[in-house]
């Protein structure tokens, strides 16, 4: 049940269903700050939000937390399951723990911050979102990434940026391997400015933009050519 407290509204998922939680947070009347307690790994927490409200999830979230978010600011004070902030359009989702696979998948906008590590396929097919991972990302991250920016303060796994389009990838640590058609690019002054802004928005102050390397599309696979067949 929703209980109004002094400065935030509380929803306890031991007492409330996911359906009621989402209906409440998606309501046109929803405003202000919300605390969701005892999430206990439930799926689809705070999906499809449309209002610029602040929602804190006090624990572990299951699949698709913050999915398709518009305008809301979410904080997950724990780990997040697969597809956190999938297809986010705007707003922000911050994960204080680790995130499972496909974090920020296909997201069109907004900011996804993961303070721990992210699993495989972080930023898969991303379409404009900014993703900042304080730790490392798993294999096939930014696979087919179309646009937006993926910042990795730790290391990247195998096949980073495979078949990517115009997304930019910044990695501070090591890259185990680059995927097909992904190559290291020159870090421009514009890139450094962008990186500075993204790190600041993510609340990361200890790393300088100059300590990152930039990766992007070599654009060799944009059109079919028989000589590239082995790359697919």
């Amino acid at each position: 049940m929703s209980v109004a407290l002094s400065n935030h509204q509380a929803i306890d998922l031991r007492e409330t269903t996911i359906r009621k939680l989402n209906a409440t947070l998606q309501s046109e009347d929803a405003t202000g700050t919300w605390l969701v307690s005892h999430p206990e790994g439930r799926h689809s927490i705070a999906v499809g939000l449309t209002a610029p409200i602040d929602v804190t999830i006090d624990g572990q979230a299951g699949y698709y937390a913050g999915g398709m978010n518009q305008h809301a600011n979410l904080v997950i004070k724990g780990n997040a399951g697969p597809g956190v902030a999938e297809n986010m359009m705007s707003g922000a989702v911050r994960v204080e723990g680790n995130a499972s696979m496909a974090a920020g998948a296909t997201a069109h906008g907004g900011l996804l911050v993961i303070k721990g590590d992210a699993g495989a396929r972080c930023g898969i097919s991303m379409k404009g979102v900014n993703i900042v991972v304080r730790g490392s990302v798993g294999h096939m991250s930014a696979f087919m990434a179309q646009s937006g920016n993926l910042v990795v303060c730790g290391d990247a796994g195998d096949a980073l940026g495979d078949s990517l389009y115009e997304a930019r990838i910044f990695v501070r640590g090591t890259v185990k391997s680059l995927g097909a058609d992904c190559e290291e690019k020159e870090m421009t002054a514009e890139d450094l400015q962008l990186l500075q802004r993204l790190l600041k928005e993510a609340g990361i102050t200890e790393y300088s933009p100059e300590s990152f390397r930039r990766y992007g599309s070599a654009r060799r696979l944009y059109n079919f050519h028989v000589d590239n067949a082995a790359a697919y």
Partner: protein
């Protein structure tokens, strides 16, 4: 003595059945280019199909309904399992998913107009929802595809139903493809891709794998759309019994089963012709899966892939489907393959009836193109009228058959109304061979 008297008789030139003229031309093409052939449309090979079934009609043991006086209803309701707002089609034939990108905006508008005129639905495709399409479609199904091009929660909520696409009949296991000629500025913007690239969209969804994940994904979509919209799951016909069972388990309201005759905008010829099942062979297994789960008529089944007429529609319904969908036939109704375009087809190296280079975007009918001049040839209002006419004819044809079988609703058609003409059809459909009580696999004689 003349030369001819000294020359022994020769046989006439004999072409190989194995290395027929098309095969020879394909080997020559492959050797010259080094890349597989890509084309549009569905399989062109001869397959067991609805023509291999016949209706029996009424006689002494069954009595018919009056053709022009007694009602034969056609309405179908889809999404009755979980959705708060199921959709109601006046006729059980819908327009299958085809993208803006693969088709021109005019073609999409015409499909919407035609479907709306007869009270049925049309479907978006791999490229998102256009305002024209939404505006001209009274019932619009929004596809949720692996690429998620243009996917957004506003359009999800604007849709009347949502179709999670796992696969399609022309290429089960394959992703989308749209070649650079068709990635116009508007298409590129909608898909967030660079203009003119050869777009290769994913074959698997980016954030779920397997039926357990799909169940969670469907629940997420329902949460985002207030549990209002029917959720379809579309699969290419490959393992229909298991795929249908798993889709039911994952929470689908409606299952769309697409056979290998179903078209594609662009796919490798080898994929189109050699992967997947003819729709005739898939329906009975799909219906069996629903029956085994006590979900037949509770989870609705839409069948597509080579549906051409009211007879095909009636046969699919009699096999247990709740509705059918058309794609290729709708494009033909719009003007694709028209003999009036013979001269222009000749310039493209083809003839009316065989045009399948839809991937090139040079369609003289203005349907499978993004070229503004070509697309302008298709009048969406006239096109819509042709679609409406065609859908009406299909419905009337199916009603004529149903009345002849004594049925007051198309859904009352049943397997016992039919016979098989071939052993293959009998084996695939478990409908006895004409003149017998037997089908392959049936025991107890």
């Amino acid at each position: 003595m003349s030369q001819s008297k000294n020359t022994p008789p020769r046989t006439t030139p004999r072409f190989s059945a194995t290395f027929d003229q098309f095969t020879i031309s394909e080997i020559q093409r492959a050797a010259a280019t080094g890349i597989y052939d890509i084309r549009g449309a569905g399989t062109k090979r001869k397959l067991p199909h609805f023509d291999d079934l016949l209706f029996l009609g009424a006689s002494i043991s069954r009595y018919p309904l009056e053709g022009y006086r007694e009602r034969c209803d056609t309405e179908v309701v889809l999404g009755t399992r979980f959705a708060k707002k199921p959709i109601r089609l006046k006729t059980p034939v819908t327009i299958a998913g085809m993208s803006f990108g693969a088709l021109s905006a005019q073609a999409k508008e015409a499909l919407g107009r035609g479907a709306s005129a007869v009270g049925t639905s049309t479907t978006t495709g791999d490229g998102g929802m256009t305002p024209e399409e939404r505006g001209h479609s009274s019932i619009l199904v929004y596809q949720y595809l692996p690429s998620r091009y243009g996917m957004n929660p506003d359009d999800l909520r604007r849709a009347d139903a949502i179709e999670v696409v796992v696969g399609q009949g022309a290429k089960p296991g394959g992703g989308g493809m749209l070649l650079g000629q068709k990635i116009s500025p508007r298409v590129a913007k909608m898909r967030d891709l660079p203009e003119g690239i050869d777009q290769r969209s994913a074959c698997r969804h980016p954030d779920w794998t397997g039926p357990d994940d799909l169940e969670i994904k469907i629940e997420e979509i329902r949460e985002i759309t207030n549990w209002e919209k029917p959720i379809y799951v579309k699969v290419g016909a490959s393992r229909p019994y298991y795929d249908v069972s798993l889709a039911v388990k994952a929470g689908a309201d409606v299952i769309v089963l697409d056979g290998m005759q179903g078209g594609t905008a662009a796919t490798q010829e080898v994929f189109i012709e050699h992967v997947g099942l003819p729709i005739l062979s898939a329906i009975r297994s799909a219906v069996q899966a629903l029956q085994d789960l006590d979900m037949h008529r509770k989870v609705q089944l839409i069948v597509s892939g080579g549906i051409r007429s009211g007879a095909d529609m009636a046969k699919a319904l009699a096999l247990g489907a709740d509705a059918v969908a058309i794609g290729t036939a709708a494009l033909i109704a719009l003007g694709d393959q028209s003999p009036d375009l013979a001269e222009e087809y000749a310039k493209l190296g083809t003839v009316p009836g065989a045009y399948d280079d839809w991937q090139e975007g040079r369609d003289p009918a203005g349907i499978t193109t993004q070229d503004p001049e070509l697309a302008a040839r298709l009048d969406p209002i006239l096109g819509g009228r042709r679609i409406a006419n065609y859908l009406s004819v299909m419905t009337m044809e199916a009603q004529a058959i149903a009345r002849a079988c004594g049925k007051s609703h198309l859904h009352n058609l049943e397997p016992e109304d039919m016979v098989s003409l071939t052993l293959e059809a009998a084996a695939m459909t478990r409908i006895p061979l004409a003149g017998t009580e037997w089908y392959p696999g049936k025991t107890g004689f």
